[in-house]
């Protein structure tokens, strides 16, 4: 299935689509207000972009430095080439510690690696502790948004889910009481957990420390209670110095939700007394992407989700329409790099409006990359041969003004004489979604001009 087909399904419930659009638009507006309130917003974006570009250019150096300094602080550093290696390392660490009950705070990387199903299949119980992630975990689906994993659900749906899974009263859909029910259940899991897994927002090469940002404090609880902490991160999460961190902390929450800061920003430098800290650094295609001059820039992403909130297509098609770990504009750039043919339709799910480029806190030129992908993925799109032929034919016509004018005249003539119901059949994508045929003038501009000048 293509993105367009899945988006069509999403839009069959117009009420949901309208409400999904409105929820995300309100986040966009909050972001706008937060960004406007910072006088040097553009300078911050510029600085963040420069720091990320610099780090990516010297990534091996900073990775080596980070490993050395994290070890000096007592953390154990692991390297994983791909998702399977990552999962096996995490599983091995859990087994070694005899842990079968694990809590995990938000991490798109473990989602990317498929850690949950991996561990579940091997008899280890893993509970997501971010409320949105817990909701989608209970529903056995993936997050529809990287910052708000359950944004596609209405509270009545969450009420029904909690009634079935957590035993809340039937029909209860009050957000505060539902949250309390999830909290009560999670508290029990936190207390019983033998290990905590977290993602990483920033890893500081200079200090060997990691920084985890959450709004719910679940990462703090998950790392403070159990004796074993496993932090999983992509190798692109590095920043050089502690002094670089504030640049990103000022941008991240404002871009994501319009907050000045995330509610909790935890700085973890080495294991806590009596505990163990393992950091798993994962490549999983990142080095390959880094070597692609036209797409390497996408590695600068700090996963704020601003491009999703501003994207007029994402807002009206829902995150699941991308059928990918990371949806939206940035996902449409990253996912085809992982699996070109599976995600070939994603770069087409874009009007090239350019708003994602303007909100991106690290200034990734997403429209440019999406456009580049379209050319490269042409071979994977349905009817690729016909498309190529159509492109060549169009080029031929446009390279010969007389051919172009004659074909235009013929098309207009046909459009004027053929019955409308033929022209607006199901085959015609222009009229299918509810557009009328355009009014067809008798003469083109050039013909009219020639006539007037005779």
């Amino acid at each position: 299935m293509t993105h367009a087909e899945r988006a069509g399904d999403f839009l069959r419930d117009p009420e949901r689509a309208r409400w999904h659009d409105a929820s995300l638009w309100s986040l966009r507006e909050k972001r706008d207000r937060a960004a406007t309130a910072v006088p040097d917003w553009e300078a911050l974006r510029e600085a963040a972009a420069a720091i990320k570009r610099h780090t990516l250019a010297s990534l091996p150096f900073y990775l080596a430095r980070f490993e050395e300094r994290a070890r000096a602080r007592g953390a154990v550093v692991h390297w994983a080439r791909d998702a399977a290696e990552h999962n096996a390392i995490v599983e091995g660490l859990l087994r070694e510690a005899g842990a079968t009950r694990v809590v995990k705070s938000k991490s798109m990387l473990t989602e990317e690696c498929g850690l949950n199903p991996w561990l579940e299949a091997r008899g280890i119980e893993l509970v997501d502790t971010d409320l949105g992630e817990r909701i989608v975990q209970l529903r056995c689906e993936r997050p529809s948004h990287i910052v708000m994993p359950a944004i596609h659900l209405r509270r009545a749906e969450i009420g029904a889910l909690f009634h079935a899974e957590l035993g809340t009263p039937e029909g209860l859909d009050d957000p505060a009481r539902l949250t309390l029910a999830a909290r009560t259940d999670l508290r029990r899991r936190f207390l019983g957990a033998q290990a905590g897994i977290t993602g990483v927002n920033f890893a500081i090469a200079e200090t060997g420390g990691i920084v985890v940002c959450t709004n719910e404090g679940n990462a703090d609880l998950g790392t403070a209670l159990p004796p074993l902490h496993i932090a999983c991160m992509g190798i692109e999460k590095l920043i050089p110095r502690a002094a670089d961190l504030p640049v990103f902390l000022r941008l991240l929450a404002r871009s994501a939700t319009g907050q000045a800061q995330t509610a909790y920003t935890s700085h973890l430098h080495g294991p806590r007394p009596g505990g163990a800290l393992h950091i798993v650094l994962v490549d999983n295609g990142r080095s390959a992407l880094r070597s692609r001059a036209d797409f390497a820039d996408a590695l600068a992403c700090i996963r704020c989700g601003a491009c999703m909130n501003t994207c007029p297509v994402f807002r009206r098609s829902g995150g699941h329409s991308y059928d990918a770990v990371i949806p939206g504009p940035i996902g449409s750039v990253l996912e085809p790099a992982r699996a070109p043919s599976a995600h070939a339709s994603l770069p087409q799910a874009c009007t090239l409006c350019g708003s994602c480029r303007d909100v991106c806190p690290v200034r990734i030129d997403l429209p440019k990359q999406l456009l580049a992908w379209r050319g490269e993925l042409l071979v994977h799109t349905p009817h690729a041969g016909a498309r190529r032929t159509a492109l060549r034919a169009a080029r031929f016509a446009f390279e010969h003004a007389r051919v172009y004018a004659a074909l235009g005249a013929l098309a207009r003539l046909l459009a004027r004489v053929l019955p409308e119901r033929w022209l607006s059949g199901r085959w015609n994508a222009w009229t299918r979604g509810g557009r009328a045929l355009p009014r067809i003038p008798r003469r083109s501009f050039r013909a009219e001009l020639a006539r007037r000048r005779r």
Binding site: P312, V313, L371, R395
Partner: protein
């Protein structure tokens, strides 16, 4: 100044009135305007469909056809963005860059280069301005609601001279209409939903006329309006500026 008028293929074939209005406005402003008949298409649709090589060939051809002019002017912000931003990327080199800098959107040229006085005839209507994404975020004519570089919006500047015109304010000042070239066909469901959302916003503001410097957005909106909002008139800004005759 010798001005080459570029009439984009969709305007040439589907909306000749816009080309005529543009020609009229340029001539009235005292420019020496020519319409080189060898012109065809800027190649934007091919580029957005993934035809980089095809678009490059058309970019090369375009520069050849329009090389002899001091300025190239088009009544389409989106096609102008193709000329100014994407042609130099496709062709590379200082020459392509210099040529791109001589390409203008019509209102931008009238207001910013020729500095014409805004027309003052009566246009007693409530008008919704549709900010085309490429006018805003590629040519930077105006400022996008999410921020970014600040530029002047020549469409608003020129229209504001008209007597009795009322420019309405929209709930979402610069939301994309969903046209997006090949997107409108590949993603027709989302494309139409986006366009209908624009029409709802414009109707809620009690607009009678929708206008823009981007004819491709307008063709999409007009096709939706004919089915869903027949009371809305869709006019290219050149038609309004050129006067009642063309509007």
């Amino acid at each position: 100044m010798r001005v080459g008028l570029f009439v984009p293929c969709h305007v040439d074939q589907l909306w000749p009135e816009v080309g005529l209005a543009a020609l009229d406005l340029l001539e009235r402003a005292g420019a020496r305007v020519e319409f080189p008949t060898d012109q065809t298409c800027c190649g934007q649709a091919l580029l957005s469909a993934g035809g980089h090589d095809e678009a490059r060939a058309l970019a090369r051809r375009f520069a050849r056809v329009f090389d002899r002019y001091d300025a190239v002017v088009a009544p389409s912000a989106s096609c102008t963005a193709m000329l100014r931003v994407h042609h130099p990327l496709l062709l590379g080199g200082a020459e392509a860059q210099a040529f791109a800098a001589r390409c203008y959107e019509l209102c931008e040229f009238l207001h910013g280069v020729l500095r014409v006085a805004p027309p003052t005839h009566a246009f007693p209507h409530r008008v919704a301005l549709h900010a085309g994404c490429h006018a805003l975020r590629e040519l930077r004519l105006g400022r996008a609601s999410e921020g970014g570089p600040r530029g002047e919006d020549p469409v608003r500047a020129l229209l504001s001279g008209l007597r009795s015109i009322e420019i309405v304010s929209l709930a979402r000042a610069d939301e994309c209409c969903g046209f997006g070239g090949v997107f409108s066909l590949v993603e027709d469901a989302v494309s139409c939903r986006m366009g209908l959302d624009r029409l709802d916003d414009q109707r809620a503001a009690r607009a009678e006329v929708v206008t823009s410097s981007d004819p491709s957005c307008l063709l999409h909106l007009a096709s939706l309006a004919r089915r869903h909002a027949p009371e809305l008139r869709v006019l290219h800004v050149a038609q309004i500026l050129a006067g009642e005759k063309s509007a």
